[in-house]
Symmetry: C2
Subunit: 270 residues, 2 copies
């Protein structure tokens, strides 16, 4: 299987550089006139794929909002994954998993193995247990041609407490940039990326030489703009995969309005 970095590059070349967050919050379900239960969740996510699956480069479902409906919600997530794949959209599972050893291997099997009904093209992971704790996920992603996005630096005000802590001259966030860079070896684009917030006042990590994808949530409703991305990321802006959720989903449920929201944002990002 072609590796994730190369597949993502092809997809972005064909469909444009936009990742659509699938965040079916209770408020969105209500706004769409749907019930706040697994049936409403299924209808919402079905409509998203139906309206957008043939034009969106990447969907990013937010696992929490499916888990909130228990196994029925996870069943909906499985059907969403299958439908997105059938429509030709890639999927980054936003689950921010992190653990050690054989437990991390369990998360890897869930989201990165060919046999799992929850397998996605890539998975977001959390490195509180150290970058090295993610090794089982890196190994399985390598084996199956999938990707990882490692939490690095987030825009929420309290994010710096951990991410800017000092590890002998480098921040924790910089350590993640450097470690993920090493995992990409000499591949450009590499299969391993970073999650960095789009509404930081300034970029406080050095991305020079980083050759993976940079998943940037917060475009649109959360305050990030396309011009702001260029300013924040400078030379690394070309590696950014901007993610918008609320701005897109609040245009629904009308399929034409959803498509227009995506097309407009995709055009701005060209």
């Amino acid at each position: 299987m072609t590796d994730f970095g190369a597949r993502l590059a092809e997809q972005v070349a064909a469909r444009g550089r936009l990742c659509v967050g699938v965040d079916p919050h209770p408020q969105i379900l209500q706004d769409w006139g749907l019930s706040v239960d697994a049936a409403g969740l299924a209808e919402c996510t079905h409509r998203m794929v139906d309206a957008l699956g043939d034009i969106v480069a990447v969907f990013k479902p937010q696992s929490a909002l499916f888990e909130a409906f228990g196994s029925a919600g996870i069943g909906v997530l499985e059907r969403f994954l299958a439908a997105a794949d059938k429509a030709g959209a890639m999927v980054i599972m936003d689950a921010k998993r992190g653990d050690i050893g054989s437990t991390m291997a369990g998360y890897a099997r869930a989201y990165l193995s060919n046999e799992s009904p929850l397998a996605a093209d890539a998975l977001t992971v959390s490195p509180y247990l150290g970058f090295g704790s993610l090794t089982p996920a890196i190994q399985l992603a390598e084996a199956t041609g999938r990707g990882l996005y490692v939490l690095c630096r987030t825009s929420n005000p309290e994010g710096g407490q951990v991410q800017l802590a000092d590890t002998g001259g480098r921040s924790v966030a910089q350590v993640m940039v450097d470690e993920v860079g090493l995992a990409n070896a000499d591949r450009d684009p590499g299969p391993f990326g970073l999650v960095i917030g789009g509404t930081l006042p300034a970029l406080d990590v050095d991305l020079t030489g980083f050759a993976g994808s940079i998943l940037v949530p917060g475009i649109g409703a959360q305050g990030g703009t396309v011009a702001g991305l260029q300013e924040l990321f400078g030379a690394a802006a070309a590696r950014v995969l901007p993610t918008s959720s609320r701005e897109i989903m609040s245009a629904g449920p009308d399929p034409d309005s959803l498509r227009r929201a995506v097309t407009e944002l995709t055009d701005q990002l060209r």
Copy 2:
């Protein structure tokens, strides 16, 4: 509802101080003569509750190993939770979730709301996005009388990379001790606890005055001993909830052997 800290104290007084990790790894399923699929998972976890539900104080299912079987695995987890509750055992869901804002609120609804089929007595959470990012979970746990265990300091060799990073004189791990301590306000035992590894060479956080529960994985097969706990935690040892998984589960599937393994370890911990 009585809060988690008080309920846990009562439970430990009645059943002893042992948390049994429910980690149905593929190897365990095979060792028990079960199929490595959702049916095998269901049989394994059913046998655990059946053999141990009336004597174990707390079960700690490892979410990853259920997620690895997709929605069918999560359905098994739901049935496990219901069976454990019926048998009078408490449950700490080991899922190490962490996100921000309305997404963290989604995880909180999944594991800490009265309505969710995945609700447990407490949930493990990961603070890479800053302690403050956990606020929606803290608020819901307060409202429903549930608890949280915040990842603090783990025994894996790479854990120090993030956990021992310096935040102006305090390590990240120490910040978590202090923040969780504040969240407990003046309650003793408070509902908010810490996850600290049981096989650290030395305790490098100061737990003086910490009034929550300390979840300590790694007793038994991972190398931690009861004597070692006392040595490592000193005065805080009385707050430790020691967790053993492999040592117990490898005694199965025979119910008498499982009960004997639990009884012996519980007696050692008195």
